[in-house]
Subunit: 244 residues, 2 copies
Amino acid sequence: MTYCLGILLPVGLVLASDSRSNAGIDQVTRVSKLAIIQAAGERVVFIQSAGNLATTQAVVSRVRQSAGAGVEGQDVLATKSMFDVAAIVGARLREVMAHDQRYVQPYGDATAAFLVSGQVAGEAPRLFQVYAAGNFIEATERAAFLQIGETKYGKPILDRALTHRSSLDEAAKLALLSFDATIRSNLSVGPPIDLIRYETDTLAVDRLETLGEDNVYWRQLGRAYSKGLAALVARLPAPPPGRA
Amino acid sequence: MTYCLGILLPVGLVLASDSRSNAGIDQVTRVSKLAIIQAAGERVVFIQSAGNLATTQAVVSRVRQSAGAGVEGQDVLATKSMFDVAAIVGARLREVMAHDQRYVQPYGDATAAFLVSGQVAGEAPRLFQVYAAGNFIEATERAAFLQIGETKYGKPILDRALTHRSSLDEAAKLALLSFDATIRSNLSVGPPIDLIRYETDTLAVDRLETLGEDNVYWRQLGRAYSKGLAALVARLPAPPPGRA
């Protein structure tokens, strides 16, 4: 399992992906699930992946190979919009599924899902979720975050504390706390975590952080949050006594 | 969907169940998912249900009808232990499944799960989770809570803040915050919430509370928690700047 999170804000994008891949508990490796394709000053494209690793790698490799080649409908560096980039990822996913699915089926699930985000000069940053079917949805002001993979454990803290007015740093803290909640509850999601804070109109990746298990900030954040949460709960009033 | 939570502590039990039942989004009703069977001063038995409503009601009705009749292996008021009570619920579930499953299959899922808890004089309080297969597990000191139904959204706060040393009131606050997280994220779980705080060795239900949507405490708790959480996150340090 994987957990990938994308947050869309007026001030930019915050993206976080775990790096654990497993094909059974005895075959655990680290795989980056965040791909970056950019033409600095003109556009930056992020692709986060969840699902069958062969499928996601095949899709990302195909997208990368065509980037810059200038073929319309295939080149993510030549589209007019991020919408067209999401459509390319969806189309590549359909190709890979058509190519592999029936061979994989006897052994397991070949499907995959993606978060596709970034900014093309002239547009605001955009964030899309590409489904296993290759179609996709876009984050809007009312749904400022999208998730793929193991999504449930990390959702409550975002529902509670993330707002459209959050800063990149605030959203990054919430993203990491969302990962901390997921990692505590699900062994198959684990560090290192790739974290991107992309500031609107910079049109280049200026802040990429990889937080490993032994990262001091990562450890302190989880500990300080748990401690603060216990203190907060202690301050809340107790439920009224029940009727006998 | 349903969410039921059972917490086992040295000081007693905290149980919480939502009351929403739906067979499709246009057929939503309120159904108590917490049954109480007791012989005050000698034992108290709690059964929380999730899954197919016809199945769970059939199981609870069969258990109730046999209570006090004195037939060994059927009477939850005549067992030596809570372990034997859990075994009776599992056996009744297998009977109902054998009776109904093949008829229900064309229309949907007939399965169900239960939390069975309480105290029999001479034993400490105990808490069991009865699986759809009718077998069951018991909560121990290291796994102080069990959940059935929509379990994921409400798990992180329990993982973080619940300890074996929590008081009944602290555990009750955490149980309600766990429900608040679930209700925010999943429309099919909803108030009113039945809440039990059972104090070890009282051998009677002395504190039962039903918190509806308009319950003042319920509303204030969620609001105060969200506010406190936002303040807590604001106080945490920001992630270190990334490598360019």
